[in-house]
């Protein structure tokens, strides 16, 4: 008989694993039991308090401070957790009442205190809770921070308090560091600029923005009526000369509101240069935005360029947007363009102009299906099977 080598090491592993197993087993079962009891209790408490809250919110006597004082300490604790959660899903007068209840519970004071915490997560929680309560935060609290999430949350918090919005400060708060914004930051920027497009102007000078942020701002401008502002128009015009195709494409989309307002591109912008841009993405953006141009000669030249287009994706857009004009003026067109126009007619679906430009990678420069994937088109796979 041969003795198994290193059996002591295996023995050690077995003991360690058994110890770990016991520990994790106790933790898992314990945590599941604790959370189940806690959640059941919270659910029952909330269910019993909800009718009272609804009744109190509907009554003429709405002294929430007194109502809160009648609650036990545990109930107040549960409500402090539950009210912000509810505020995410309710709206209207009930939400207003819940916000008052939240203040009576002291959520706002705790959130205010959290803003001075050294731990970022606590500050973020504080900002979120203040937003839910529609309570503004003094901007100096977050001015110094480089964290885009914190700045975006602060901006969101400020605009939630509709009483005193200073668009320029909010835009500055969002854009000054020049780093990309999280999604709710971009949305906040959109909401602020919808109210006041000119608020952008204070921060567009002397700024070195990250590429993504530039694209994000241009994407927002696509949805803003800035047409009366020459400064914004000029700023977009300068971005059309950027070396990055993603920025140029976003700038073309950002020209959309101007073109729709005046039925032409700004005087300093040459639409023909854009439709002949080497980037597929820029040309695609141009054919999406330029149908609103009414000037006959320019339109004719755009249509001529569309007829010469070689990329299938761009052709499809050109066919959708300029199909009628092409068939009215050009007798001989390429089979590819004819296919695109036929597809556009048959689908009768125009591409919606959505946020199709925030992607900062220059993907159109990558070769398609060549060097890395020749095997894709090699042998046919067996048929009749699928998982």
């Amino acid at each position: 008989m041969i003795n198994i080598p290193f059996v002591q090491i295996y023995e050690l592993i077995a003991y360690i694993s058994l110890a770990g197993l016991c520990l994790v087993g106790v933790l898992t079962l314990g945590a599941s039991g604790y959370l189940w009891v806690r959640d059941t209790f919270v659910r029952q408490t909330v269910a019993s308090l909800r009718p009272e809250i609804v009744a109190h919110a509907g009554s003429s006597e709405q002294d929430w401070e007194a109502w809160v004082n009648e609650r036990s300490r545990l109930e107040r604790r549960i409500l402090r957790r539950e009210v912000p959660r509810q505020l995410r899903v309710v709206s209207g007068s009930y939400a207003t009442q819940l916000k008052t209840l939240g203040r009576a519970l002291g959520i706002d004071e705790r959130a205010d205190r959290a803003l001075s915490a050294r731990i970022k997560q606590k500050r973020l929680i504080g900002l979120t809770q203040l937003t839910l309560l529609d309570q503004a935060v003094p901007l100096q609290h977050v001015r110094g921070t480089e964290c885009p999430r914190e700045r975006a949350l602060a901006a969101q918090c400020v605009i939630s308090d509709s009483a005193d919005i200073q668009p320029e400060s909010i835009v500055r708060l969002l854009l000054e560091p020049g780093t990309p914004l999280p999604e709710y930051g971009v949305y906040t920027l959109y909401r602020v600029m919808q109210q006041n497009p000119l608020s952008l102007l204070g921060v567009t000078d002397d700024t070195t923005w990250d590429l993504t942020l530039t694209v994000q701002v241009l994407s927002v401008l696509q949805y803003i009526d800035y047409s009366s502002s020459d400064a914004i128009r000029d700023w977009i015009g300068a971005r059309l000369r950027d070396e990055q195709p993603a920025v140029r494409a976003a700038a073309v989309h950002a020209l959309g509101p101007y073109i729709r307002a005046y039925a032409m591109t700004p005087p300093e912008v040459d639409p023909l240069t854009i439709v002949r841009d080497p980037s597929i993405r820029v040309r695609a953006a141009a054919f999406q935005q330029f149908p609103a141009i009414e000037e006959t000669t320019v339109r004719r030249k755009i249509v001529d360029t569309a007829v010469e287009e070689s990329n299938e994706t761009v052709l499809l857009i050109a066919g959708q947007e300029f199909g009628t004009a092409i068939s009215g003026t050009h007798k001989s067109i390429t089979p590819a363009l004819r296919r695109s126009m036929a597809w556009a007619r048959a689908t009768n679906r125009r591409r919606t102009t959505r946020w199709r430009t925030p992607w900062a990678l220059e993907w159109e420069h990558q070769p398609l299906k060549t060097e890395s994937t020749p095997e894709l088109l090699s042998e046919p796979r067996p048929t009749g099977e699928h998982a």
Binding site: P5, P358, W359, L368
Partner: protein, 474 residues
């Protein structure tokens, strides 16, 4: 005798080293998932007040649904997809040459009309398309009817036809939570220039209550085979992939559910139409494609978005599926062998690929070798019983320990199964798994290896059961 002793000792050293490295890797991944869990819990505590539905700037998403002989589930699935709350999405169902009435059911249910024009996606790496159909009932729905080419092939035709910036791959037998896309898209919005793919966990639908195309009450399957798979899914999705993501080594975004950037995927050539496990092959290739071009990119994995899928309840179907997975894994590892231990591919090359090869691939074969050699050695008295039992108990304890660690993540983060009794049942299943199921699975793996050696490339047959409405899945 000394030669035999040296050989046995040498083999013992090798096995011990192998065991320690593989067990260490599994432990590292599970501990990384706990770290990731802590981060997730922290970020969940300050989730911003942001409504994707109100944002006009969100990108379009195409749900690409490959369907081959899915007549029992396709109508319910599409109806469940229509429940998704996202402002800009379309559903592209790719009927991959089904031989049953999949297409007819789609036509009856959603009133299809053929788009009377040549299909523009002429450069798609897929088999020819018979026609593209638009639903007259709901303009979100399109159906591609094409020559059978396999799952990857069907996915490619959908990916090349859509003009959405993002596409989401979904299996035809899955149920999606309505808020799934609005949550999944957020990493793309937060890192628009870098995020390329986001995966999410897949749950076992068997045993859950499905109402109007949605899982309203998660439950445990009554079938023991499905219940044991439940454990595997929890381990794979709530510890495995969460941990791999934390270690920047996520090389598998499931083919049943994943959100991708359309332009990048097209640029990488789409799915491999010949692969048996198109998802892992594609995820690895996407990594390599981006790393070869020195791109700064991110892959994401989020515990929140949940989709539900049916798992096989009979051993034959499960065996077919697992054999295919194993053959596919070997095939993929062989295809990407030059990237294994290649420093240019960072953690993907140095950790993820070797882990899958030596842990999930060769490790299984060593396990099979153990199941054969140890009983023989014991029978003939070559090795001592006490030492063998120590080793076996160590391995089982370690395996159960990892399973329970995954359940801890489930309890603290995912919280789909909240009742302690459900958790106790799952913990018990984690032990029972070692009493026969694991050994059966090893036999399946060996069958898979033999099939691979024989050059078989069959997918095997999968039986579907209707997802149903207002009913509890078996």
């Amino acid at each position: 005798m000394s030669v035999v002793y040296s050989l046995v000792t040498g083999f013992g050293v090798f096995m011990l080293g192998y065991f320690i490295i593989i067990a260490g890797s599994y432990l590292t991944i599970h501990l990384a998932s706990l770290l990731r869990m802590r981060e997730e819990m922290a970020s969940a505590s300050w989730e911003p007040v942001y409504d994707v539905l109100a944002d006009p700037m969100v990108p379009d998403i195409a749900l690409v649904v490959p369907a081959y002989n899915e007549e029992t589930v396709i109508a319910d699935s599409v109806r469940s997809f229509l429940n998704i709350s996202y402002p800009a999405f379309e559903i592209i169902i790719v009927n991959d040459g089904s031989t049953d009435s999949t297409f007819d059911i789609l036509d009856d249910e959603f009133d299809l009309e053929q788009i009377d024009a040549p299909v523009p996606a002429s450069n798609a790496p897929s088999k020819p398309i018979h026609g593209v159909y638009q639903s007259l009932d709901n303009d979100r729905i399109r159906v591609i009817d094409k020559v059978n080419g396999g799952k990857g092939d069907a996915q490619n035709s959908g990916i090349w036809l859509t003009d959405a910036e993002l596409f989401c791959i979904v299996d035809a037998d899955t149920i999606i939570q309505p808020d799934c896309l609005s949550k999944m898209v957020r990493p793309f919005l937060e890192h628009p220039d870098e995020m390329v793919a986001v995966g999410g966990p897949i749950r076992v639908a068997n045993g859950s209550l499905v109402e109007d195309g949605m899982v309203t009450r998660p439950g445990l399957p009554s079938s023991p085979i499905a219940a044991l798979q439940q454990i595997e899914y929890i381990r794979a999705f709530f510890a495995g992939r969460l941990g791999l993501d934390r270690l920047q080594s996520l090389i598998l975004i499931s083919g049943a559910f994943g959100l991708f950037r359309t332009d990048v995927v097209r640029d990488a050539g789409g799915y491999d139409t010949d692969s048996l496990v198109e998802d892992i092959e594609f995820t690895i290739r996407l990594h390599r494609h981006l790393l070869d071009r020195d791109r700064s990119y991110r892959f994401g994995y989020f515990r929140n978005p949940v989709v539900w899928t049916q798992v096989p309840e009979d051993l034959q179907t499960l065996s077919n599926q697992r054999q295919r997975w194993f053959r596919g894994l070997l095939e993929t590892m062989l295809k990407h062998r030059d990237a294994i231990f290649d420093r240019r591919y960072g953690l993907v090359g140095l950790f993820a690929l070797p882990f899958f090869l030596f842990g999930e691939g060769i490790g299984r074969l060593f396990e099979a070798l153990g199941y054969v050699s140890v009983p023989i050695a014991l029978m003939f008295g070559f090795i001592e019983v006490g030492g063998t039992l120590v080793i076996l108990s160590g391995i089982v304890a370690f395996g159960v320990f990892l399973t329970w660690l995954s359940l801890l993540v489930e309890v603290l983060v995912s919280r789909q199964y909240t009742h302690p009794l459900q958790i106790a049942v799952l913990m018990t299943l984690g032990v029972i798994e070692f009493l026969g199921y694991r050994q059966w699975r090893t036999i399946v793996v060996v069958k898979g290896l033999l099939a691979y050696v024989r050059g078989e490339s069959s997918w095997g047959k999968m039986e579907r059961v209707s997802l149903g409405g207002n009913q509890r899945n078996k």
